[in-house]
Structure formats: structure tokens, C-alpha cells
Symmetry: D2
Subunit: 266 residues, 4 copies
């Protein structure tokens, strides 16, 4: 159901009123994790000022260690809704458990399945029962073929508003957190009709590499780019080293727009 | 809580009455998926005859494609209990969703978290609330350090009866389904006090490679080896190409016992 | 000697009269292998028309199988010189054996060490004794740190005119020939003062992916991009599936120039 | 020429008088690098006492950094010959450059092509022109199919006395130097008629993992195992952390013999 063969035209998926698809280019930005009202609002306003039309922000964090910050949960959801009210930006939020899916889907404009849950098939099936778009990140060791089959679990239950998100795969190279597979993004666009976007922040894990990879993603034809923003990365509770400062996302927003124009993407 | 530093002595975990730990060697065998009463019983009896003291068999199958066989569910659980009644072998069963955990933990002697759920932290936490041993497979792209941290999610909730299972990692080599990382097994035994076992069947994915890798695992000091058995692999509903025939597991059981004796494992 | 610490300013390396460095953007194009005078000349003229200022073309081909086409050798070198005479483009040629290095270095404007020889230290040392620029491709399984140390073998012998070339690393993903590591390119630019370029053709191995990855490389800040061209890819003796047709490189040249301008590169 | 299809029976290759093949099990041991007469002789005697019937020892070391110890060269060859005279053990020595091949082949009983040169086709061709056995290590990122094709370069020139050596592949796991692919060894034995051996020392890079992996290799059916020995690893000039002490190789020799007997290998 997600393959090109039976559905040759590329799909556009709407997150709130914002289209994500081949006919436009979209910036998604915001805090990696919601930590407080003030922190989230600063990031949200910086995202909007930089041209973002979708807000990211997580409240349930699947962390490698159980001793790391696990997210604000319900309180975080309230903060995100407040950010939406103030700025009008639709919100995308990660869900990590079947029991949260329906509730988060009511509140958020798009629900996201993270890398570590990319083959959590029960979660995918539950997402397929909602009426909100589902953003599906590629697993760390997932082939593109497996990624599309995971999307099929969502589509099969009746929800084909799916956005694929490339965010780096695991390789032998230790200099970056993961290896951003931009060609994999292009392959997924070729094999499926779904929008495919790129998250350079989680792929590289280092601030100074986010901008070149974001620009590369735009030039390669990504349907959207998703960026972490934090006003005080050194004190961030999650993934500070990869977050852009408000002034950095602002600068990058301008440069992405120039590249988007150069490759004929509005 | 799973690290050696604070718990220098190796732990033994009991599955039913069967010990799994450094002082013994244990064979776990049975069907990959339970398909029918007859199929499961043939595999169970072959497993027992070959020296297995724990029965494996799955009823919920997390398959890459939603169009593949997904398991018999509750009916399969009934069949496994029947197999246990007939042979006395304790059973280990994969769980794939938080909502099943408590129920399966009541029925089974050990619950298993599969490769694709190895960083499904909500599932791990729920397993930590049961009073049955938890077998935790290594994720396809999981470092050993991440594997131990995933085990920590279980232990932190109060259940430290954890068995780690190496089952191959994803690499560039296409000749085998995955690359069995036996040194990774040895590292996990060194870094943690938990028993560490090996599943050669799912690692290699090809029948003729299962025996050499099972023998290698025993020689390397694995605390147990887990093997798929099927009487008619060509018609198996799941992973037939890697299943051993009853006569093959019988022969392998003898050879594993010889190697276990040679390395001083009862 | 190649690290930034001791040499903070980025270096520019001249291939013939063509600069390769941070202050400009350079297109390198031409045939993968020289097959005949006509084939090479068509590719050379297409490369020049598309904006290339350096010509690539190989005459010694290190092929995985000994039964594949191994290159025209000396005859191929004559053809390349002919192409240079006609178009004025300087030429870069792969060397594969210590015994060829001095001879090829006399004829060519830049010598190239290929992926499979990236840690052939005797070859690197010999290149360090020439007075021509050395293009060093990254090995398939080479970390960036190892790549820079390989460059050090060249520099240590007295030749610091070195150009690094990212061309994809080996990962588990089978959809592309290799995984283009554009962030690795950016890391190499950050860690070393050497120019770092990208070869999307050999990285992806599929024609339709070359253009998006070439554009991505430009946007990410690559100092040059190197592209295979062939007028009849189906009958190419080497790597036909990744070669662009003359009209395709022409179109891509224009699009790369637009992206280069958008990111402030000449 | 190396494939099973045309040569169904497994080959035995003789290094000096020592057979390497499916009908026996062989221990190869000695110093990683020859550093001095005394160091080499201690390692050689320890190797022989432990049951080794072939001596390893290198005099040309292809090191990642040009600032590391590069080997004793000709002086080291003299020392190795002295070790052979005293103990009667045939010697295997790495060659790294085409210009050395004929000379080393005259002196040594077996020449070895290392991991970093595994696709240095000029070197392979030159080895094919000697009349000594060639040990071909698997490249860090080489598929088994590519490994066999590299062996074909040697065989095609007339020398089919080739021994394949698995020594770990590069993966994402940082806990070991490389990931020992024992199943890859078994696949190579299945696909080719050549003897296939295992070097656990270079695969794992850590002393305490060498013994379990050596035992695993024997159990899996490796035709030989090759082990580094050093009497003072902390002061070794190369790869000290993986070298076994004389008493450790002695103990391991006994345990390998027991496992070899258990799997029916003399």
C-alpha cells in the first residue's frame, strides 16, 4: 500500500494545515524534549521565526539508560498545546507505548514512532487506527525495504497518512552519532509514494554538522527537514550537543530557503 | 544493577527447575513458531530427546511484513502448555506487547523480549514487574553497552532474573542472515553477572551453519544454546530454512555435550 | 601534518591550473574507465560542456574479479593525453602499483589512490615522493581518523598536495552500492586542512541517485564533486549503471552551479 | 578456480611439512611482530611447547599511523630463519609490497597478504607467481564472495596453494577491535575447497577474549587457529593487548586439543 507500483503519484500529507510532500519544502523545528514552559516557548518562537511551519517537541523520551531524563509526560503535552496556541504551529510528538497512542493522537497533529520502536509492530498497528498522520523514523539497522514494510503495518490498518523520516543508520564510523543516509532518503522517495523527510540533528549528534547536513538534505530533495533547537544546549536534559541555538536556526532557515529555491522547491 | 562491578559472582537464573548459568550448560530447543499441536509436539519431543531442558516456542511473531504469519496467539499458548504437561519441559515464549506481559508471564516459565523490541523500554519495564525470568535478545544494531542498559530497565523494576541472548548483529555480509557475535557474548559475560546464551539459528538463518555455530558457542562458554526445530522445514510458516530436523538436533545434542565436556561444562 | 591543529587555514590544491579548495567549487567528470579514443573523447567533451575543469579517466582498474576488464594501461594514458590536448582539461588517473607511480605522475596532473588501496602504505609512500597532487579515496571500512593517517603517509614523504575523496562506506543497506557519508566529508574538512571532495557515482552505483547526491554534496560544502560519464552506459566495460549520459551531466552541471551559488560557492 | 563447484574435495595445503586442511587441526603461533632475537625466540619456543606446528612472525608491519613501529625488515627475516633452525617450525610472514614478494617467498614457508592489502590486486598477482603457499586474510569490509574472488587473483596466476584466514570484520560494535565472523569462516569452507583458518588475536584485540574465540574456532571446524604470543605484552611494539603470555598459550593449546578431539579433529 505504500509502494509506488500501485500509487505512482507522490502523496502529500497534511500536518494540521501544513503540507508535507514533493510540491513544497517544509521546515520542522523545536525542542528535542520539552523541559519547561519557558524552554519550549523560546524554542518554538525561534523555530517559527526561522520559517518552521511544524513544531517538534517530545514528552516521552525512550532513553538508552533508565537513569536518564524520561520526559515530562502529560505536563509536557500541556506545554506543547500552549506553544501551538501562541504560534499556530501544528505539533508532532513521539509516542512510545500502545496505551498512549489514542490520547496523544487526539492532542497532537502528528504522532511519531521513534527509531527504537520502528519495528514495534503492535505500536505501528495502533497508530494505523488513529486519524492523525504518523511519522515513522527509520530504525538504526533497518533496510529501506524493512522500513517500507513497517509503514505497511500502519497503512494496513487504514491510515495511509504516513511520513517517513531518515535519521541516520548505525555504521562503524565513530565520528558521528550515526551515519546520515541521504541516498537512502532518495531511494525511499523512489520506492514509495510517501513523503520522506530528514532529521540531521539526531543523525550527526554534533551542532557544527547539523547545518551542512540540513542543506544537503534540502538539495537532495527531502520533503522536509526536522531540527532540534535549544536556547541553552549545555544544560539541555536531552541531546544538547546537537541542538541549534535560536540564532543558528535562524541563519540556517535562510540558507535552506536559498537552497530550496535553487533546486526548484518553493 | 546488571554490572559485574557491584555483583562480581555470576548469577544463575532458573527457568522452571532448569538452571541457566556458568556452572552448567543448557540446551533450549523447540519450534520457532507454534503452528499446530502435532508440529509443536514433534519438535518438543525431538528437543527433549536431544537433551534440551527448556522448550522454546512462539505464539506472537513480530514479522517484518504484515502479510506474513503472525502466530497462533492464545491457541498457541494452550498447545505449549500441553507440550509442557507431556514432557515436563519449562517453556520460554516471546512477548511483543505490554498488554500481554502479565498474562503470558503467568502461563510461561520465562518470557522473552525479541530483537526488534530490545529497546522498547515500556515493554522492558512491564517485564520488570513480573516474577518470571526475562530473556532479553540483543538488538540487531545494539552495542553490548546498550544491551546491558536495556537489561537495567528490567532490573530497575525489581526483576533481576534476566538472561541475555546473543543472536547476531547486522553487518554488511549478506551470506548469513546476521553476523553471530560470539565475542560479544563473551564480553557480555565479562561485563555483567547475568547468564548469556546464544541463538545460532536466528543468527545464521541457514541450516548447515547452525551446528558449527552451536558448537562454537558451547566452546566459547555460552551458558545455553537455543535452537529451532521443525520436522518439515520446507513447509514451516516461519524461518524454515534455519530449522533443524529432529535427527539433526539429536546428532547436534550429542556433539554439543562432547564439546561441553571438553571445556569443563557439565 | 594533515591535521587542522598545526595548519588552521584550509589548503587549496592545484590540479594543473585548476584550484580545488574551500574558496571555489570544482566539477571533475569523465569516463570511469578509458575504453577507446572515441568513448573517452565524447565523455571528455560532455564533461567540459557541463562545466568540469578537471578530467577523470582510468586506465588501470582494480576489479573485484580477475575476469573483469582490467583497463587499457599505457594505451589508455595516450588517449587521456589526447583528451587533454583537445580540451585543455588536466587529468586525474588512478595508480594501483608502486611501479607505475612515477611514470603516471609524469603524465597525469593528479594521481589517485583508490578505495581498495587506501591502506596500501607502500603505494602511499611512493605517492609522497612525486611532485603531483594525490587524490586519496576513503577505504570502504575506513574511519575518518584512519583516512587522515593514511594521508599522513603521503605527507610524511614530502608531498602535502593531497585531496581527500569521500566515496561511500560499506554498511548493511543493500539498496545502494555503498552508503555515501556526507557528514564524514564535513568531519574530514573540520579535522584536516586538506580539500575534501565527493564521488557520488561510485558511492550510490545507480544513475538516478547520482544527481541528488551530487547536489547534496555541493550544498554540504564539498570542495569538488567527481562524476562518471558514458555515452552508452549499457555497453560500458566498467560501472555502466552509475554513469550519466552527456545530456544528464549537462543538466546536473547547471543544477550544481545553482546550488553552489545558493551556498556562496563560486 | 577456488570454488567448490569444480573442485568438490577440500584441499590440504602444506606449509613446510605441516598440513593445513580438513583432515587435521593445526596451531599457528608466534610473535605478532619480530622485535629482537630474544623476544622472537621466547615466543617461538612457547608456541612450539603449546603444540604449534607453524610459526608466525612479521617483519613488515602495515600500521595505521606512519609514526608507529614499521617492522625490522631484513633483520627480522634473519631472526625468523634462526627460530626455524632451532625449532624446525616452518614460518609464515606477511608481505606488503610487490617488490618483496619473490625474496620473502624464497626465505619463508608461506607468505601472507594482510587485511589492508586483501584487495591489492597487484600484490595478489605477484603472490600467484611464487611457489609458496599464500595465506590471504579477509579484508575488514570484504564479503566472502569478494574474498574468494581475491583468492582467484592468486590462483589465476598458477598458484593454488591458498589458505584463507578470517580475522574479524568491521562493525558498529566498539567493545572488540573487530567482530570475529566465525559463520563467515564456515561459509568460506562451504563455498571453496581451500583451507580456512581463524586469527582470533587480531579479531578481538583483547587478551581475555582470545581463548574463548580460539576454542570456538576449533569447535566450528576451523582448519587452523593463529595466535599472537609475547612474553612481555605491555612493552610489545605492536598489538600487545591481544598477545598471550607463554603460560597462557600453553594452557590454551591443551584446551584446543581437547575441543579438537571432541569434534573429531586429530
Amino acid at each position: 500500500m505504500v509502494a509506488r507500483d500501485l500509487h505512482p503519484a507522490a502523496s502529500t500529507v497534511y500536518v494540521g494545515q501544513t503540507p508535507v510532500g514533493r510540491s513544497t519544502f517544509t521546515l520542522i523545528a523545536g525542542p528535542c524534549a520539552v523541559e519547561s514552559y519557558d524552554q519550549a516557548m523560546i524554542a518554538t518562537k525561534a523555530a517559527k521565526a526561522a520559517g518552521a511551519t511544524i513544531l517538534r517537541g517530545d514528552v516521552f523520551k525512550p532513553r538508552t539508560s533508565p537513569y536518564s531524563f524520561q520526559g515530562l509526560g502529560e505536563e509536557g503535552l500541556e506545554i506543547l498545546q500552549e506553544c501551538r496556541r501562541e504560534t499556530g504551529l501544528p505539533i508532532v510528538v513521539e509516542i512510545v507505548d500502545v496505551s498512549h497512542v489514542q490520547h496523544v493522537a487526539e492532542v497532537a497533529d502528528c504522532i511519531r514512532v521513534g527509531t527504537r520502536n520502528a519495528q514495534n509492530f503492535e505500536l505501528l498497528k495502533e497508530c494505523g487506527l488513529t486519524n492523525k498522520p504518523v511519522m515513522l523514523k527509520r530504525g538504526l539497522a533497518m533496510t529501506i525495504d524493512e522500513w517500507l514494510q513497517a509503514a505497511e503495518y500502519v497503512a494496513q490498518r487504514g491510515n495511509s497518512d504516513i511520513i517517513l523520516c531518515e535519521r541516520g543508520i548505525r555504521t562503524f564510523e565513530p565520528a558521528t552519532r550515526n551515519t546520515l543516509d541521504l541516498a537512502g532518503m532518495a531511494v525511499a522517495q523512489h520506492e514509495s509514494h510517501l513523503p520522506v523527510i530528514v532529521d540531521p540533528s539526531h543523525a550527526v549528534g554534533k551542532r557544527h554538522l547539523v547545518a551542512p547536513m540540513a542543506l544537503a538534505a534540502v538539495a537532495a530533495g527531502a520533503d522536509a527537514v526536522m531540527i532540534d533547537v535549544h536556547h541553552d544546549p549545555e544544560h539541555a536534559l536531552c541531546d544538547g550537543p546537537q541542538a541549534l541555538l535560536p540564532e543558528e536556526i535562524d541563519d540556517l532557515g535562510r540558507r535552506m530557503a536559498a537552497v530550496a529555491a535553487a533546486v526548484g522547491r518553493g
